[in-house]
Amino acid sequence: MEFTLNGQSIQGKPEPRVLLSDFIRDTAGLQGTKVGCEHGACGACTVLFDGVPIRSCLMLAVQAEGHEVTTVEGLCGGPEFSPLQQAFHDCHALQCGFCTAGFLVTLTALFRDKPHPTDTEISEAIAGHLCRCTGYVGILEAARRLAAESAAAG
């Protein structure tokens, strides 16, 4: 079994029952992706699968064969924050951080497809993510600020 993880080829022989989320964390050693509810409700395990945000806890690792997976570790090229991560930092959009990777993955895909999302589009995109500490205000503020900045930048 071989697939592309954050731009690099990765091989493995997981048992069919190994979830993609567990393969990413335990075999590939990338622990930015969190595992919460394991039934698709919380959004903590969200990764990009061929560029599209999906629940990695609801896929088997073997299903990734030949596909491209991007985790939170792969969202920015180097040690610098991406503009979205900077906005999260500036707007206090995280406390414990457990949900943060999922929010960043989903919002990265949103801003890639729609650089100037409306408030409604932001809310709809993150409806599949639960945060139990910030109460969403900071998260929405970070996304709005980035939308406004990208609008101002043209």
Binding site: R17, H39, I54, L58, L60, Q63, A127, G128
Partner: protein, 291 residues
């Protein structure tokens, strides 16, 4: 928790899926989008012996338009259908209902057929399939597919008419009449939850009178319900607010005949909310119908 052990196969064709199911042990399950099944694996509520992953099978991932109707293959993702011009044109009611299902990340992976086959009692799409008289194409050991209308597919015990060794390869929605007014509304605890109650309605209005009405409800009873008597009340009549209200009460009465209690709402709540939700849905459908 984590899934119990199972064998896994990923056949590349419909014929190979049939063979895998026929040769496989009892207790084989189809894996499509996995958004309903994998949670059951994770909690070990489901313990299949074999998973037949159909995602690599050719020809199951297409949306096409045989004779103008809308055929949706077994691995078509909800998110792709949501963006599809073909779906909007042929079945606007389906387009209206899709954003109510789960959340965007789940819809990126979940399939329409998988959702229909799961027939969860709070699930939106079975009501749409019932209202639009969708037809399921079911492959089985015989090698020649059979066709099964939604009215027979969804059984009143909450199961579907697809037995072990069989699988649904596509569902075909007859094209809606051009200009049909469509609406889907639901009561839910929070965005992305199953419907406590959902109403699907499509109204064709010609010369101020209702030329065709389709109404079905989700979450009202443990199975999707088509509201034939309410549709009959509307047929041929002027769509006045009074008539829409009467039809909404009738739809609610028939749909909630087996209303149930669950963790999220009581049967009493469902019966109380159904007439108002049906009225809002019918009113929205009537407003958006071409005259």
């Amino acid at each position: 928790m984590k899934p119990a052990e199972f064998a896994y196969e990923a056949p590349r064709s419909v014929a190979a899926i049939r063979s895998a199911l026929a040769a496989g042990p009892k207790g084989a399950r189809i894996l499509a989008g996995g958004q309903g099944l994998v949670p059951l694996l994770n909690s070990r509520t489901a313990r299949p012996t074999l998973l037949v992953d159909i995602n690599r099978a050719a020809d199951l991932g297409e949306i096409d338009r045989p004779g103008g109707d809308l055929r949706v293959g077994a691995t078509v993702r909800m998110a792709d259908a949501e963006r599809s011009e073909d779906v909007r044109e042929a079945c606007p009611l389906l387009s209206q209902a899709l954003p109510w299902v789960a959340n965007p990340q789940v819809r990126n992976r979940a399939t329409i057929v998988g959702n229909l086959v799961s027939a969860n009692r709070g699930s939106e799409l079975p009501a749409v399939a019932l209202a639009l008289e969708a037809v399921f194409t079911i492959e089985g050991p015989s090698g020649s597919p059979r066709r099964c209308p939604a009215s027979v597919f969804f059984r009143t015990d909450g199961t579907v008419a697809c037995s072990a060794g069989e699988f649904v390869s596509s569902v075909t929605f007859p094209r809606q009449a051009p200009g049909a007014g469509c609406a889907f509304l639901e009561a839910q605890r929070r965005s992305a939850h199953y419907a406590l109650l959902g109403v699907a309605a499509a109204l064709v209005i010609r010369g101020g009178r209702v030329a065709g009405a389709r109404i079905a409800m989700a979450g009202a009873s443990p199975f999707p319900v088509r509201c034939h008597s309410a549709e009959a009340m509307l047929a041929g009549e002027a769509a006045t607010p009074g008539l829409l209200a009467a039809a909404a009460r009738e739809a609610a009465r028939t749909a909630t005949s087996d209303a149930y209690d669950d963790l999220h709402a009581t049967a009493h709540y469902r019966r109380a909310v159904a007439p108002e939700l049906a009225l809002r849905t019918l009113t929205a459908a009537a407003r958006s119908a071409a005259r």
